[in-house]
């Protein structure tokens, strides 16, 4: 004890604190959703994901109106135009195309190339031997020749930002239209999964007993069927189309949601506030809608967030194996699928939709991860 210290006797007078002083000194109470939002905001990945998604969705909506081209307006004279953007020529988006051609000599190769692609010699910008005859399998040398294709076709004033496809359609417009469709399928499938899954899981968990037993056996059998198989069989039956694809995706897609919701409902069902509502005479429907559903909202949101990217993936996958949308409609999947025919010469056809679908998937996945971390009550302190 500090002997040298002198205390003023007044300091030892009893005082009265305000009643709520004890509470004031503790941390302020924040609501669940606000807390979740604060956590989400701290998660750099999730915020990046959010921005990437916002950007892509915005472009998907306004992109098709940003130039004068139509998504289903074929013009074979304009086929395979490489991407060209005003001001971004330095990025390689300069409308120049490099062809690889073969010939016995360099000149021979170039002549053949110019003839084959119907280009005048004056538009040849550069050429380079990339594989000498000695190293090649067939005895011909391979020459890369760069041509200004826009000039060659007399289109100096046209700008196809993402180039054109084999039918001369503007890829910028088609890609954003396709993104719209991919997003639409993803969101719709997630919505249907959510509704069906929540109803099924909610009813199964809430009523319990025999109902639950039967419903769970059904789920057990259905979940043994790989959804790849279900989806393929259904598309074959229904003919590929927007609705068929969406329905096929949701046929077994809701099972995961139903399981999670049932688990949550079982857990919540016997908690005091539900019992209280029941003793107060609330009927089943009311308890389900007013008490249980709000309390399982977070798991529903998390699960739905993961459904969207998997639906987008599945649509693209179906398109890729030839069960997707039919022309002239395009989704990111069909665009990638068609791009595979020509991408060795025209890599931009693959690159743009590939980058966009990848960003979309990454965006949804990291946002969903972030939301799970933010909303998961287990992680909450």
């Amino acid at each position: 004890m500090d002997k040298d210290h002198n205390y003023n006797p007044e300091q030892f007078e009893r005082i009265q604190l305000k009643d709520d002083a004890g509470e004031q000194l503790t941390r302020p109470q924040i609501s669940y959703w606000k807390d979740a939002w604060l956590r989400l905001r701290k998660n750099k990945g999730a915020i990046i994901g959010l921005f990437v998604l916002a950007f892509i969705i915005l472009l998907a909506l306004v992109g098709p109106f940003m130039n004068k081209y139509e998504f289903d307006d074929p013009n074979y004279d304009l086929a395979y135009m490489p991407p060209k953007v005003q001001g971004l020529e330095w990025l390689g988006l300069d409308g120049k195309q490099t062809y690889e051609v073969q010939g016995s000599t360099k000149e021979d190769a170039i002549t053949r190339g110019l003839e084959g692609y119907e280009i005048d010699e004056e538009f040849l910008l550069d050429s380079e031997v990339i594989l000498p005859a000695e190293e090649s399998d067939n005895g011909y040398m391979t020459v890369a020749m760069e041509v200004d294709i826009y000039a060659a076709r007399g289109l100096e004033d046209e700008y196809y930002w993402f180039g054109t496809d084999s039918m001369g359609r503007d890829l910028w417009t088609r890609i954003w239209k396709g993104t719209q469709i991919s997003l639409y399928i993803g969101l719709l499938a997630a919505l249907i999964d959510m509704v069906v899954g929540v109803l099924y899981g909610g009813i199964s968990g809430y009523y319990g007993g025999r109902t639950d037993n039967v419903m769970q056996r059904i789920i057990e059998i259905l979940s043994g069927i790989p959804n790849l198989v279900v989806v393929i069989l259904f598309i074959m039956l229904l003919d590929p189309g927007l609705i068929a694809i969406t329905i096929a995706l949701t046929i077994t897609g809701w099972i995961g949601m139903a399981r999670i919701v049932r688990g949550q409902v079982l857990k919540l069902k016997n908690q005091e506030f539900i019992l209280a509502a029941r003793t107060l005479g609330a009927n089943d429907k009311r308890i389900l809608m007013k008490h249980l559903i709000p309390n399982v909202t977070s798991v529903i949101i998390i699960n739905t967030m993961f459904t969207i990217p998997s639906a987008i993936f599945f649509e693209a996958f179906l398109s890729f194996i030839g069960l997707g949308l039919q022309p002239p409609y395009a989704s990111l999947g069909t665009l990638i699928d068609t791009a595979f025919d020509d991408y060795r010469v025209f890599p931009y056809m693959l690159l743009f939709p590939a980058v966009i679908i990848s960003l979309l998937m990454i965006g949804f996945n990291i946002l969903a991860d972030g939301m799970r971390d933010a909303l998961d009550p287990k992680m909450r302190r």
Binding site: G45, E220, I221, G224, I225, P226, N227, L228, V229, I232, L233, M236, L237, P309, F313, A316, F317, F320, I321, G322, L323, I336, A339, F340, Y343, R344, P347, L350, A354, I357, S358, M361, I362, F364, N365, I366, D369
Partner: protein, 311 residues
Amino acid sequence: MMAKYIIQRIIYMLITLFIIASATFVLMQFLPGSPFNELGGKMTAEQEEILLEEYGLNDPVPVQYARYISNMVQGDLGVSFQYDNRSVTSIILDRLGPSAHLGAQALVIGSILGIILGMVAAIRHNTWVDYSSNVIAVIGISIPSFVFAGLLQYYFAVQWRIFPPSFWEGPIYTVLPTVALMIFPMAICARFMRTEMLEVLGSDYIELARAKGVSNNTIMFKHALRNALIPVITVLGPMTVSLMTGTLVIEQIFAVPGIGEQFVRSISVNDYPVIMGTTMLFSVLFVVVILVVDLLYGLIDPRIRLTGGKD
């Protein structure tokens, strides 16, 4: 207890397969066109009638159904429309090799790399190692395998000419398809392993081991690794699905003569028997893997071994 559980699981498995088989049969009935349309439509009505009779297609539907199921149980999946009436079973068997090879290679390499990646990330939690492992995992889970395969093929085969772009003629030809196929199993393993490992490392029994004075390395390998690895078996299910979907597209991209490539080709020419046969094969594979995972889990985890059921 355990035996009863296994029997119950096998019964469910058979019911599931039966439903799938029936669904494929019903679908065949509804699908447009007679199987012989593909032959060019040059048949006369009498010829077609003879063929229909020969294949039993004039029998009442229940009879056909019973025959279909009984044939299937015996491994007879019908006859291809596309290849001069070759049997579906032989087509599938012919093409099983490359697919199995590719799948196994991707599964083994992918999961080992994934487990290492996830473990290292958990041990170096919140360091750049952890962050980069997370980024790899997110990319691997997000980017569709055919996009990844396309990029690999463009850069490593077309541009840099390091690997052959396609076909299946030796080990070097398997590199690109394997990498493309294994990226998802690797990512999902890494992610799962990291979560499990972090949970284990934060558990009371690891703290007790520390309190015993056990060194960090011993804690990682003797205490944590085993406990974290056990649940990783459960990702085998989703991994199989990804391998099945993966083979469909990746075999096509790299021209691997496997089941997936055949399947996609059959879809494009409406060769229904082959499509249905492959579908059955995938279903059986999936159902068996799910069962094996479940049983394996019980075998490895001592908590389940004697109680015969989770928890």
